[in-house]
């Protein structure tokens, strides 16, 4: 059996739209011809709790769950959650991290502390982390709610999937009246990772 399966772990906070983002990601991978599985938890954890979604793709995916230390990409929507799930990353894995902090309840009420200098901690663990100013870019697109689209745009630079397939998926999944801002947000995210040639 070929072992070509790649693993992307999405992590963030309930309410950030992680499930929608992983939905788009899984659909685009299907369109690109991969076997795809994704797994996540609904329910309790959606109420502001910590949320992850596992996306695995390749020629034949068995387990829907990524093993600890096996994620090729950690795709973090919030800094503490990105940091929390770093142990899921394989050696040499990539991190895409949204530069946003959302205080968990124990921190908000003053009974726990949010880790200090968390970006440095993430960078210390994974020097090549791609930090993305999701909210700033989303505001540029005219719609603060398009943060996940910005983040997907950034992530897309690490995946070898033609831009046209992304476009097709976004057009299919995003409501017509929000399509333009979402496409723009995706492009802003993509451009934010300057090293990528814009032609693919």
């Amino acid at each position: 059996m070929t072992n070509d399966v790649r693993n992307i772990l999405l992590a963030g906070v309930g309410g950030q739209g992680i499930l929608l983002a992983s939905e788009l990601l899984a659909e685009v991978l299907l369109l690109a011809g991969y076997d795809v599985k994704k797994s996540e938890i609904h329910g309790m954890s959606q109420r502001g709790g910590s949320v992850t979604s596992h996306v695995r793709y390749g020629s034949n995916v068995l387990s829907p769950l990524i093993k600890q230390g096996d994620a090729d990409i950690l795709f973090g929507f919030e800094l503490l959650e990105t940091y929390r799930y770093l142990p899921m990353l394989r050696r040499g894995g990539d991190v895409f991290a949204n530069n946003q902090s959302i205080l968990p309840a124990p921190v908000a009420i003053g009974t726990a502390e949010y880790p200090h200098e968390i970006q440095n901690k993430i960078r210390h663990a994974c020097p090549d982390t791609h930090f993305v100013d999701g909210l700033t870019l989303a505001c540029q697109s005219g719609h603060p709610r398009t943060v996940n689209m910005v983040l997907l745009g950034a992530l897309s630079t690490a995946l070898n999937i033609p831009h046209t397939l992304w476009n097709e998926t976004i057009t299919e999944k995003v409501p017509q009246q929000l399509l333009q801002e979402n496409q723009f947000a995706f492009q802003l995210g993509r451009n934010s990772q300057a090293m990528t040639p814009e032609t693919i």
Binding site: V13, G14, M44, S63, P87, V107
Partner: protein, 586 residues
């Protein structure tokens, strides 16, 4: 038809539709809820929410009596509630095929226990299928209806969180073309389970299991994957995926039907292996039956019995290896527990209960989050409906001077599920507890489903909403008080008064769920903290509202309200003694 990515729940709905299901009934429960929410989109199916799982199954049975195919869905603990009709249905069998899909929750991501539903199949003597991905969820559901009719038996389909809420590729098929005619048929020997009739049915049930067992040996859903060497694995469901991945060389007997087990197939398979593992999540259900066949296997002495069987847990069990991660944290990170939403109608009630020092016998729903700090106002939680009956028993047990402290609390959906029976008991037997019903008009915890108090059905059709106040009165409760949980003064005054009353009283806290799109409040402007007036007393932080944070970085720390999150419910404003919180108008 084009292949599609589907969740297991969507795939079960698809399979039911393909099988020509006409009637579906369910009570919501994670991770099973979306089966019916998907099925309602297929116009040929009459799908509805029942007030509880027993009713759902009985509705399904009625439809089967009428000759149509019926699907009933629930979470694992729902089967406990539906067990009574299930066991007798096993004797009766079916006219139209009947499938009970139940979804287990190993690891208890959203449940109060992790019972293994496979035991019900054996206990009730009905066959059970267990899919390993979404495509099998579709195909097995469809097949289950044929099996139900062919063997005259209800059939169970067991999913779990990973199958139900995972997505994988499905190949949808065309629905079946023709199905038997529906209509009234009298068949008392089969359908009237008096002792005399039931005695005749029981031997048929025993024979049915024998027949199914032999038949299952020949069916493609129980398949052998030939590997190399002498190591074999018997497995089923999601555990198959982890086992296949961990042991790529092994021979695998993958069971699609987990009850009854295909004995001859297992004996033949075992004969080819020197080492035989049984890899299954939760109970040693397959393992014990195989041991009883006289076969030596390795099972739960290695594979954990508690929690989910994740790929790393399996590999640690099999090989003793630990994951090799790039990063291992040395510091402990602040947790991120779930929380009631900003503007949740339950928050004010729990703040009040905490302030009054109530001993709260609670129940299951969004309001169970009232257990978490800083509200910390729930003392017991057992199962749906127990909030009131636990209060009844507790009051009988404790000394007189403690009795007034006991308050039974539950949500509207929970009350209509089984809580109403508990209230009837309290009324009937002279109980004197205080009961609070948290009426947010919907079944919020599982994703805001309609219930008999909502005024709408699953299909979105209007229906008469049950009036809880009138209902409690007519049951015989003398003191029924309505409160608005956004009004803290009224809430505290009424709850205090009813706790002190040496008689039974019901307080109904009525306020739609902030996320309820039908009844939810008009968006209100957010509030803000006037920093100069904030005395840093932190009283507002006792609400545990996600919109309120404590700004520690300031030289003089202050409360802060996130205008994006604030719903304008004004609870914090009512608590503030320094008028430091006001409506944010700009």
């Amino acid at each position: 038809m084009a292949k599609r990515l589907m969740s297991g729940n969507a795939a079960i709905a698809r399979g039911a539709y393909e099988a020509g299901v006409k009637v579906a009934s369910a009570y919501p429960g994670t991770p099973s809820t979306e089966i019916l929410e998907n099925l309602i989109n297929y116009l040929a199916v009459d799908a509805s929410w029942a007030p509880n799982e027993k009713v759902a199954l009985e509705v399904g049975i009625g439809a089967s009596f009428g000759g149509v195919r019926a699907l009933v869905t629930m979470k694992h603990v729902g089967v406990n509630v539906a067990a009574d009709p299930l066991f007798t249905l096993s004797y009766i069998g079916v006219r139209g095929g009947l499938v009970l899909a139940c979804a287990d929750d190993p690891e208890m991501h959203s449940s109060q226990n992790e019972q293994d539903s496979r035991n019900y199949a054996k206990f009730a003597k009905v066959p059970m299928f267990e899919p390993a991905d979404s495509e099998e969820a579709r195909a097995f559901t469809r097949l289950a209806f044929d099996v139900s009719e062919q063997f005259d038996t209800p059939v169970m389909l067991r999913s779990n969180t990973r199958i139900s809420h995972g997505k994988s590729i499905v190949n949808p098929q065309e629905p079946v073309a023709e199905l038997p005619q529906a209509g009234l048929v009298r068949d008392p020997a089969k359908m009237v389970m008096l002792p005399a009739n039931a005695r005749n049915r029981h031997p048929l049930v025993e024979q049915r299991i024998v027949d199914l067992e032999a038949w299952a040996c020949e069916q493609p859903f129980n398949r052998v994957e030939t590997g190399s060497g002498k190591v074999g694995v018997i497995t089923a469901g999601i555990a198959y995926q982890y086992a296949r991945q961990a042991l790529p060389q092994a021979h695998i007997l993958k069971l699609g039907m987990v009850y009854p087990l295909p004995k001859q197939l297992i004996l033949d398979f075992a004969a080819r292996c020197d080492t035989l593992y049984v890899i299954e999540e939760l109970d040693p259900f397959i393992e014990e039956q195989i041991r009883a066949m006289g076969i030596r296997v390795i099972g739960k002495e290695l594979i954990p019995i508690c929690g989910e069987l994740t790929p790393e847990r399996l590999e640690t069990a099999l090989f003793g290896t630990k994951p090799d991660a790039a990063v291992i944290h040395s510091e402990s990170l602040p947790g991120r527990p779930p929380n009631m939403c900003a503007g949740c109608s339950h928050r004010g009630v729990f703040l009040t209960l905490k302030r009054l020092g109530a001993y709260v016998t609670g129940d299951i729903g969004c309001y169970t989050l009232g257990f978490l700090p800083p509200l910390s106002a729930m003392d017991t939680c057992v199962c749906m409906g127990a909030g009131i009956s636990n209060a009844t028993g507790l009051i009988k047990a404790v000394p007189e001077q403690e009795r007034h402290k006991v308050v039974g609390v539950m949500g509207d959906s929970t009350f209509l599920h089984t809580g109403i029976n508990s209230l009837i008991d309290m009324i009937y037997n002279g109980g004197r507890g205080t009961v609070i019903l948290l009426d947010n008009r919907i079944t919020a915890m599982t994703g805001r489903q309609e219930n008999p108090g909502s005024g709408y059905t699953l299909a979105g059709i209007e229906s008469p909403p049950i009036d809880l106040q009138a209902l409690c009165r007519v049951l015989g409760v003398k003191h029924v008080q309505m409160i608005d949980p956004y009004d803290l003064t009224q809430t505290e005054q009424v709850v205090q008064q009813e706790m002190a009353r040496p008689e039974l009283s019901v307080v109904i806290a009525k306020r739609p769920c902030i996320l309820d799109r039908r009844h939810g409040p008009e968006p209100a402007p957010p509030l803000k903290v006037i920093e100069e007036q904030c005395s840093a007393c932190k009283i507002c932080m006792k609400l545990g509202c996600p919109a309120l944070t404590w700004q520690q970085e300031h030289n003089t720390p202050k409360a802060h309200i996130d205008p994006q999150l604030c719903s304008g419910c004004k609870l914090c404003q009512q608590l503030c003694k320094f008028t430091a919180i006001e409506v944010h108008n700009d």
